[in-house]
Amino acid sequence: MAESNVMLSVKDLEVYYGSIHAIKKISFDVREGEIVTLIGANGAGKTTTLHAISGLVKARSGEISFCGSNLRAMEAHKIIRLGLAQVPEGRRIFASMTVQENLEMGAYIRSDRDKVLEDYERVFERLPRLKERRRQIAGTLSGGEQQMLAIGRALMSNPKMLLLDEPSMGLSPLLVNEIFSIIRDVNNSGVTVLLVEQNAKRALELADRAYVLETGSVSMSGLASDLAADEKVRAAYLGAG
């Protein structure tokens, strides 16, 4: 995996909310086929970083490029067309729509109808709980099911890369297992993954490489297995001393 293709590259990214300096010149990259995780405490700037990538917040300076396209020059709704899909923090499914309609929204940009129909089946195979609940209003799903729906919805765009923002949030350990094995499975099928997590232990187990985000800056980076063994990381994020 040494020098395979960089798919997403973020360089010297800076984001402000008014006068709040949320992201202070961070740089990282994600190579094709990898699972990279961005870990950090609440408020470290993980969500802001993902929102800057997907265009929901505007960066003040820096470069964001995905498969050769400059994302900073692009409107948020065009970015998914490049093959970059996001599973947002707090799931943000369309609660008043049915499960099926949420998946349709995921496939909004696609015109290859036959392939889309196949992809519903693929998503339902991967997430069988959604299939039983196709016609159910999404807001009535349990937290775990909503997370699965958010993932399924993102997969319906047939992405090259998936950004996931704290998919384990608020879920029982058992459900976290299920969600993380889905992410593993999605990655095995050829989708590159950038996973943002507060649950550092689980994220480091899953990922190839990791970056630690602290108050808007990258404080450490390396192979996930190395970081998981690092004393400082263990003390700060893995609850070990």
Binding site: L56, H77, K78, I80, R92, F94, M105, G106, Y108, S157
Partner: protein
Amino acid sequence: MVEFLTQIINGLSQGSIFALVALGYSMVYGITQLINFAHGDIIMVGAYATYVMLILAGTPLWAAILAAVLFCAIVGVVIEQVAYQRLLNKNAPRISLLITAIGVSMLLQNLFQIIFKSDAKSVSNVLPSFPIPVGPLEISSVTLITIATSVVIMVLLQLLVKKTRIGKAMRATSEDAGAAKLMGISSRNTIAFTFAVGSGLAAVGAVLYVGAYPSITPYMGSLLGLKAFVAAVLGGIGSIPGAMIGGLLIGLAESLTKAAGWSQITDAVVFGILILVLLLKPTGLLGRNVKEKV
């Protein structure tokens, strides 16, 4: 009893016009959280468009309706693009949007006053008018046409919103604009489309209104628009079925007040309803609590 039933039907007819207009307030609010106070004046624009086509140009009714709907849709989109778009993009405070909307409303009224003068224009016999016996009642054809047209339009609107790609994009954007963008839905296009549909519905309302009250002025949209706004709030602003129900209820409230012999206070009753709703259930009958998100 006959008198009472007749008033109910008149109320439904008047109410379905309120409903058509209330839909525009509600759909636009659902997507932008903007109370478009210029929306009432779109009725006036639609009424003048009907007048120009039908009376000045002498076209058949269908052509006048089509022209009014198209013209209002275009005016709605132009207002959105010129007056509101930048404010919405920059997340301007609500009060700026509100003041802008009031400014647009005054602009439209004054513009039409300059073009058509302020005296009332008469547009009689827009809709064929004759009595139709319904059981023991005699109902005017205009009343029944109004109700039937509104029902058809509302069914079509439901189909648009529930079944079509753009309709689903509207619902997704109104629920969570940020998440909708992540799906590839352009808020800009969706908002423009919503203004077009809302204004087109107001144009249909205008034709029906002129069918019942064939005298038009540049200010006719103010009170009608305000009442439709009350209807939207009563139903739960942002909710499409809410706007329909709210419109019908306001129409019924008006006609029953008249039937009770209190014609002078119908406006007070309508605005009394607004005050009651705001005091007792600000989200309206079918409203939902909106959470705000990036």
